[in-house]
């Protein structure tokens, strides 16, 4: 075959592959939104879930997902920030750093179900938390830490060394340089990283089935005492999230309108995650413009 001809065939094939992938994506998003959006109504978002009858909503699940997300970020962000600063500012190029990096890689490649089972074993059973939001948030932290650490480390690394040298030459200690100069400069990247991780945490279910549990007990949204068992803020109550709800409806649920509810809930999940992704970009570039002189 002459080279020109094969060049054309190859280019055509690559175009074809790309078009197929784009079509798959459009089909996927289209299917979810097309089937799901008609099911979303004010009632759907604000009503309680029904186990045996049609017409249930997703109020508790949606709230649990958000609450769990906030708790997870509260626990994982400080740890990831410290670890990220260590890796980008303090770590010297030796075997200890190598071991630490390997550990983080291992953690990031562990299947989320294994992380969930570890959380189940340690927190739910050994520490006696039972199925609880706290156990779920800790399991999600494990799952979230490597990614968030890497994001923070990378955004710290993109700050030019000149900035560090400038800080040092002004006589600042290295900690002051980090907190006063490097962190603000890296802030846009860090914010983007956090929001992207938030999207991942929001849709995660495998790590939660055996940590946060699969039931959503009735809670009182006016009870602000986090120690009361019926309070919506109580971190020790079991909490089924939106993603777990979809899974449960489709595997063991007996709800008659499971398909409609899952479609609606999937659409809600996708929409929230899309908002996170777009928000990450917008907020990242907004803070970048605010913090630097670029237009």
């Amino acid at each position: 075959m002459n080279p020109k001809r094969s060049n054309q065939i190859a280019t055509g094939t690559i175009f074809g592959l790309v078009v197929i992938v784009v079509l798959i994506l459009i089909g996927l998003i289209g299917y979810i939104l097309f089937n799901g959006v008609p099911n979303i109504s004010w009632h759907f978002i604000t009503a309680e879930a029904q186990a045996f009858s049609a017409g249930g909503g997703i109020r508790d699940q949606l709230f649990n997902s958000l609450y769990l997300l906030i708790l997870t970020l509260l626990i994982s962000f400080p740890i990831a920030l410290g670890a990220g600063i260590y890796l980008s500012e303090y770590a010297s190029d030796n075997w200890i750093t190598n071991v630490i990096r390997t550990m983080i890689e291992v953690l990031s490649s562990l299947p989320s179900v294994v992380v969930g089972l570890f959380g189940y074993l340690l927190f739910v059973i050994k520490f006696g938390f039972g199925f609880s939001i706290l156990a779920g948030a800790i399991a999600l932290t494990f799952f979230n830490l490597p990614l968030l650490t890497r994001q923070i480390e990378e955004s710290l690394r993109t700050v030019p060394n000149l900035q560090r040298e400038a800080g040092m030459s002004l006589g600042l200690s290295s900690w002051k340089t980090v907190t006063g100069i490097i962190l603000p400069a890296a802030l846009p990247g860090i914010i983007t990283g956090i929001i992207l991780c938030a999207g991942r945490v929001f849709g995660e279910a495998a790590a939660l089935i055996y940590t946060a549990g699969q039931s959503a007990p009735v809670v009182d949204y006016l009870n602000f005492n986090p120690l009361s068992p019926t309070s919506f803020l109580n971190p020790m109550r079991p909490a089924e999230t939106l993603a777990v709800h979809i899974w449960k409806l489709n595997t063991e649920g007996v709800t008659p309108d499971a398909h409609q509810i899952s479609s609606g809930a999937s659409a809600v999940l996708i929409i929230v995650i899309l908002i996170f992704n777009l928000g990450a970009r917008a907020l990242g570039s907004y803070t970048y413009r605010k913090m630097t002189a670029t237009k």
């Binding site: 740890i79 983080i104 953690l107 299947p111 899974w247």
Partner: protein, 311 residues
């Protein structure tokens, strides 16, 4: 008195120094926490996972090669029926098939983004991969359950659940991982390689195939391994379309069960410390070990790539 005071003050470390130590300590504690955590995960899963072999005296060979999975029952020799082979085969089956299907698409997309249409194509496909990454695995499972399973049932007969449906769901899920890592490795190929090849009169496809893809081979292999690791550990999406019958897969459309799907569906139904429960933890141990193996393979490929092209 005054002199002493000055001396003491001069000898004392400054506020900035103390802050510096404080900050450094916090960072060390954080990184230490993560390291300890990984150690704990490895230790706990391993110690539970080997209980099948130490407490229940199941032979490792029997566990890995047996085809009957019924941990509560004893077989005719009085041994527990814990043959994990059907799940191991299914897990590897969906993983390898998904990687085989995803690779051409991923390489096609990566080549399109780096070689054919670096500006607009990259922008478009970048958002495509980001969207695919963003879709949660339960949503993939749900779409698989309501679209792919009925389609497979319609075309091939049977229930529609099985390795084929699992592959079709997984390949889309690992596509963004493989694509974005492949893009990175294609971008790392120096521009002057391409210029040299084009200057010799090679067509674009000849350049891509013989220069760019060849140089990027270690990177692309790494990308595929990462994709396989993701497919191997994926739980819910697969669980929803695989059928969850612990049977040796006889065809691509027969219901079967992967390691992850068995774990997610069963671990809540067993009591801690019993044979059934221990056997499930052993499955988790296999998952853990495979994830370590994938990591190791990535390292080996990375070293090979360095030796091949950098020395």
């Amino acid at each position: 008195m005054d002199k002493d005071n000055i001396q003491v003050r001069l000898m004392k470390s400054s506020k900035a120094t103390r802050e510096d130590y404080f900050g450094k300590t916090i960072c060390y504690v954080c990184i230490g926490l993560i390291t300890v955590l990984v150690g704990c995960i490895l230790y706990f899963i391993t110690s539970r996972g080997i209980a099948t072999f130490t407490q229940n005296h199941v032979k490792l060979g029997q566990f890995l090669s047996g085809t009957n999975w019924n941990p509560g029952m004893l077989d005719s020799h009085g041994n527990p029926e814990v043959g994990a082979l059907p799940m191991i085969v299914t897990s590897f089956g969906v993983t390898i098939l998904a990687a085989l299907v995803a690779t051409p698409f991923a390489i096609g997309m990566a080549v399109f983004m780096t070689e054919i249409s670096p500006k607009r194509g990259t922008k478009l496909l970048q958002s495509v991969t980001e969207l695919l990454v963003g879709i949660p695995s339960v949503v993939y499972g749900f779409v698989g359950l309501s679209v792919i399973v009925p389609t497979v049932r319609h075309i091939f007969g049977g229930t529609g659940f099985g390795i084929l449906s699992g592959t079709l769901v997984l390949f889309v899920m690992i596509l963004p991982t493989v694509t974005s890592l492949s893009v990175d490795s294609l971008r790392a190929v120096p521009v002057h390689y391409r210029q040299a090849s084009l200057a010799l009169g090679a067509t674009r496809w000849q350049t891509i195939r013989k220069v760019v893809l060849k140089t990027a081979t270690p990177g692309i292999l790494t990308a595929i391994i990462f994709g396989m690791a993701r497919a191997f550990g994926e739980a819910l999406a697969v669980q929803m379309v695989i059928g969850n019958a612990v049977l040796m897969p006889t065809s691509l459309v027969s219901p079967s069960s992967t390691l992850t799907s068995q774990l997610t569906t069963q671990i809540g139904n067993t009591v801690m410390g019993t044979m059934q429960n221990n056997a499930l933890w052993s499955l988790a141990l296999i998952l853990l070990l495979m994830s370590l193996v994938f990591n190791l393979v990535v390292r080996v490929i990375g070293n090979w790539g360095k030796h091949k092209y950098e020395s």
